[in-house]
């Protein structure tokens, strides 16, 4: 990927802070019995963990936006439904009580079906009638409310966890610790992100997705079945959102509005990375996750999303097109 060299500058501030940190920690008071450097390192690891999950959920949102130029407000509910559907299969008294792994696979497939259904039932017919994008955007807000409250009725308000991998002892890695569960989830997330990149870059359908997002008519003129590509993107986005929801439920907790809360961070990640670029969504989400976690070293945890959004504003002031975005070409 020619763009990978931009990734390093994006992460450079984080690295600089990382290496400068031991010097800061020594002079000042050392609360909680751990050095500042260690706490920073821990926050960074937490941030990466959080960031890759946002990235998995955000890529689908970004791909849908890239191909059909629709901001899908209901994407957060895809995340929630993925997690709660897996919860139903895995831990609900009314469910079959499957192990988490098959439950997760089923939930990801369900997410794909849900994404496909939104394409076939809502997007395609309304778009064919010439419904404007703003109207469709409002439709997705309605869909988001509807789905969220269906989850509320079926799942309830009580936060819950999956049966397996719930409480774990952290592996001690010197100054920092990470549970085997979180380590596995993070590594899997990174693998999935590389998989998405490979799919977009190397496969035939990936090429078609990129062509459609650049120029729909020209893609058609090249013999690409744009409707099929759009269906694929919706299904792929739904599946990734469901997977992200399961991962988030594993690391944190499952709630009826988890996806809605994540949606703002997904938007922030996508815009920060550059609208419509799948890789931008990944990088932007990672930055958002890291900033949110690292900010909690100095500021109350309740404010961590606010800091992530502040970074978004500051970066956009300097680079309006986002980190990986291209400035609009004129002429």
């Amino acid at each position: 990927m020619a763009r990978s060299h931009i990734l390093l500058p994006a992460l450079a501030p984080a690295l600089v802070v990382l290496f400068a940190s031991p010097a800061w920690g020594q002079g000042d008071e050392v609360p909680h019995g751990r050095g500042f450097g260690a706490r920073l390192l821990q926050a960074l690891i937490d941030g990466i963990q959080f960031g890759v999950i946002i990235a998995i959920t955000a890529v689908g949102l970004s791909l849908v936006f890239g191909t059909v130029h629709l901001i899908n407000f209901a994407h957060g509910e895809f995340v929630t439904i993925g997690a709660t559907f897996a919860f139903f299969l895995n831990a609900s008294p009314a469910g079959p009580g499957w192990h988490l792994v098959p439950a997760a696979i089923a939930a990801v497939l369900f997410g794909a079906l849900l994404g496909g259904a939104v394409d076939r039932v809502i997007w395609r017919p309304l778009h064919a009638r010439g419904t404007g994008l703003i109207n469709l955007f409002i439709v997705t807000i309605g869909l988001s409310l509807l789905l969220r409250h269906i989850v509320l009725v079926l799942y309830g308000t009580r936060p819950a966890s999956f049966v397996q991998y719930d409480i774990q002892e952290a592996i001690d890695l010197g100054p920092v610790g990470i549970t085997p569960r979180d380590l596995t989830v993070t590594l899997l997330s990174v693998l999935v992100l590389f998989g998405v990149a490979a799919l977009l870059q190397r496969t035939r359908i990936g090429t078609a997705v990129r062509a459609v997002s650049v120029n729909r008519d020209l893609a058609e003129a090249s013999g690409i079945d744009v409707q099929r590509v759009v269906l694929f993107v919706w299904m792929f986005g739904g599946a990734l959102a469901a997977l992200g929801g399961i991962f988030f439920g594993l690391e944190e907790i499952i709630t009826w509005d988890m996806g809605f809360k994540l949606l703002l961070l997904m938007f922030a990640g996508i815009i920060l990375g550059g609208l419509g670029s799948a890789y931008g969504a990944m990088v932007g989400s990672l930055v958002i996750g890291i900033v949110a976690q690292v900010s909690s070293l100095w500021f109350p945890v309740d404010l961590q999303y606010a800091w992530a959004l502040l970074v978004l504003i500051v970066v956009l002031l300097v680079r309006p097109q986002g980190i990986l975005g291209r400035p609009e070409r004129v002429g």
């Binding site: 062509a211 020209l218 003129a221 090249s222 013999g223 690409i224």
Partner: protein, 246 residues
């Protein structure tokens, strides 16, 4: 050019189409292209020239009327199927993938038959030598004229029987316009039927076998290119009276 025993390669009859609900841009437009023919469509801005090409190609829903390709009814079939049937289309603007290299653009042109890439790209680089020299260059960095060449080459990769061109000379310098018309003539000479809409009416009619004059979504006149070129009314309305000087 046309003979009675031949099925026209393209026959669009009484086509009604538009973008907004209730607003028809084309209001019963008919166009016919015989095999090997070079047909031009001229008309003032807003007459529906680009709309006609898009409707014929399947990028725009047709509300009434029919489109037939070699006798087969293809009304409202999606555009990518027309590509398979042997129709190439070059949009007016944004007709290349700017972030892709010249070679990758050509590869997109033959998306449906990747196996034929090597043979076709070699043939087209012979037809458009400028592309061979720029093979690894990003299409976005090319000049307007070069881009138009690439766009045509991309559309020709699939060896179409019919090429649809939407204002190929738009936005080009006079020198490049001449080059483009020359190439269009060359492509047609190689046996590809061409339907071209053009704002440069005079240059278009000079190379066309037959021309249509489109006005407010209907065809007003049809005749051979040369006769339209000397038609008093066409000169008055669309060519400008300066054309009479020639």
């Amino acid at each position: 050019m046309s003979t009675d025993d031949q099925v026209p390669i393209l026959a669009a009859d009484d086509v009604v189409a538009g973008y907004l609900p209730g607003v028809d841009v084309l209001r019963g437009c008919s166009v016919r292209v015989e095999p090997g023919e070079l047909v031009g469509v001229i008309g003032p801005n807003g007459a529906g020239k680009s709309t006609l090409i898009k409707a014929v190609f399947g990028l725009l829903r047709i509300r009434a009327g029919s489109v037939r390709l070699l006798g087969e009814d293809v009304t409202n079939r999606p555009a990518h199927e027309q590509v398979r049937r042997g129709v190439g289309y070059v949009p007016q603007l944004q007709n290349v993938f700017p972030a892709l290299t010249v070679e990758e653009n050509l590869r997109m042109g033959i998306y449906l038959r990747p196996g034929a890439f090597a043979r076709r790209s070699a043939e087209l680089e012979e037809l458009f030598p400028v592309l061979a020299a720029r093979r690894k260059q990003k299409a976005g960095s090319m000049s307007g004229g070069e881009r138009q060449m690439l766009a045509m080459a991309r559309a020709l990769m699939m060896e179409p029987r019919l090429l649809l061109l939407d204002e190929p000379s738009a936005g080009l310098s006079p020198a490049h316009q001449d080059l483009v018309f020359e190439r269009v003539k060359g492509i047609n000479g190689a046996g590809v039927a061409v339907l071209m809409v053009e704002q440069n009416a005079r240059r278009c009619l000079q190379i066309c076998h037959r021309g249509y004059v489109l006005d407010q979504g209907r065809n007003a006149y049809t005749d051979t290119g040369t006769r339209l070129l000397h038609d008093e009314k066409v000169i008055e309305l669309y060519l400008g009276t300066l054309a009479r000087v020639r």
